[in-house]
Symmetry: C7
Subunit: 94 residues, 7 copies
């Protein structure tokens, strides 16, 4: 399966790791071409982020391990795109 | 009939199958070119997903069987596109 | 008149016909090039769908007959586009 | 004046004329290239439609006469575009 | 100054002038290339319209005079675009 | 610094200056290529406007002076874009 | 890691620095190609801004130092994009 895009819900402590460390770890994972880290919540102790990763033949397990390795926590996988191109979700109409 | 896009409402247990297993099973179905799996609900026991599949001459029965084979459950088919190209829905104005 | 797009409000019983049967019947109608069937309502007994058909020189009567022939019911025609190209509706501003 | 787009508010009785008759009558009017008829209201006796007509050198009087000739009623003209190209409305910001 | 787009708030009596008369008068003003007249309000006595005029070296005074000459009333100028191209407004974010 | 776009909040008295005077004064400022003046508020005495100016090497001080010189008042600068191209704002997601 | 876009939440006192000073300082930082500074809040003493910086091999530490050097305050980093191209965030659907 050619994994082309992954969207992850990731938390980190406010003090560390730095967002640049997380971005660097993700970019170094096999198959990753680019990453967007968007902060969606800042709490007293933690920062909530949505992480969008694009590439070709992304190694999903290595990607999650890379994030864990920085001290950040992957809470859930919210979207996967696989195949010969990126296909956007068609939202439900009912 | 040349089936080009299918949108399915799919549930899985939280523990298994993995979303990557479902994506791999779908991608292997006849006629499938790419798939987007988006999580729309996380409950205590289950995860609700919207699955968008694109391709050419998609084998609808084989596609549903492939998903069932992973242990996930297809609840409903929410959109079908067939013909010589993908046509978007024109929403009702009344 | 060169009919190029039709949007129909169609209902079917939950058990039958299958949506793939309706799509196949529509695709076989004269002038039809592609079809989008979107489910907008699932009730106890029936499924409500919005059907968008595009093509050239679509035979409107044959299209409605094809849908009726599957056992589904055409409730209303909600949009017609005719002429030398597809023109989108300009919505009213008052 | 080169009239290029007209948007009309049109009503018809539920029973007749057929929407396809109205579309055919509009398409036959001088200067008309394409037409979109969108149903915006279905009442007990009548059907309310927004009719968008595009073309070049559209004959406005002949267009309205063509619609009247089918038994439908033009209630109002809601937009006119004239000139050497189609210009969209810039909505007011106050 | 090269005036390229003007948006005007214009009223007319319901009975007259016809919208086609206003469009013809605007189109004949110096520098005008195209015009969109959109009805935004229909009251008992009057019709409120938003008029978007595009062109090159539009003569603003002649444009307003042309509209006044038909019996319609220019209430206010709501947007002006001038220069070597049309630039859209960037809306305020606070 | 190559200033490429400026968005200003500007007020004027209802009677004067004319919007066309303000547009002409802005267009004559060094580096300005085009300007959009959009009215966002009409009060008893004053008219509130959002002014979007685009160009290359825009002289910010001269631009503000040009507006002041017409008798209009610059209340605030709401956006600046500088560099080798125009970059749009990415809005905050939290 | 090739840092290509950074979005920062920045505050400044109303009196100083000028927004043009901040833009000039950012534009001079290593790797920066263009910057958008949008005012999102004006308070009694301070002005809140969203700063979007694009470039190639942006030096994150030098960028933050450049802003601090003008007397403005970086409150938080709200988005980072790194890799071989700019990837937009895919928002969560649950």
């Amino acid at each position: 399966m050619n994994l082309r895009r992954v969207m992850l819900d990731v938390d980190k402590a406010r003090s560390r790791p730095e967002m640049t460390e997380i971005a660097a770890a993700i970019e170094a994972a096999p198959g990753v071409e680019a990453v967007n880290i968007t902060v969606t919540e800042i709490d007293v102790e933690t920062v909530g982020m949505e992480v969008t990763v694009v590439g070709e033949q992304i190694d999903y397990v290595a990607l999650v391990d890379a994030i864990d390795g920085t001290g950040a926590v992957v809470h859930s996988t919210d979207e996967l795109v696989a195949g010969d191109r990126i296909v956007e979700r068609v939202p439900r109409s009912r």
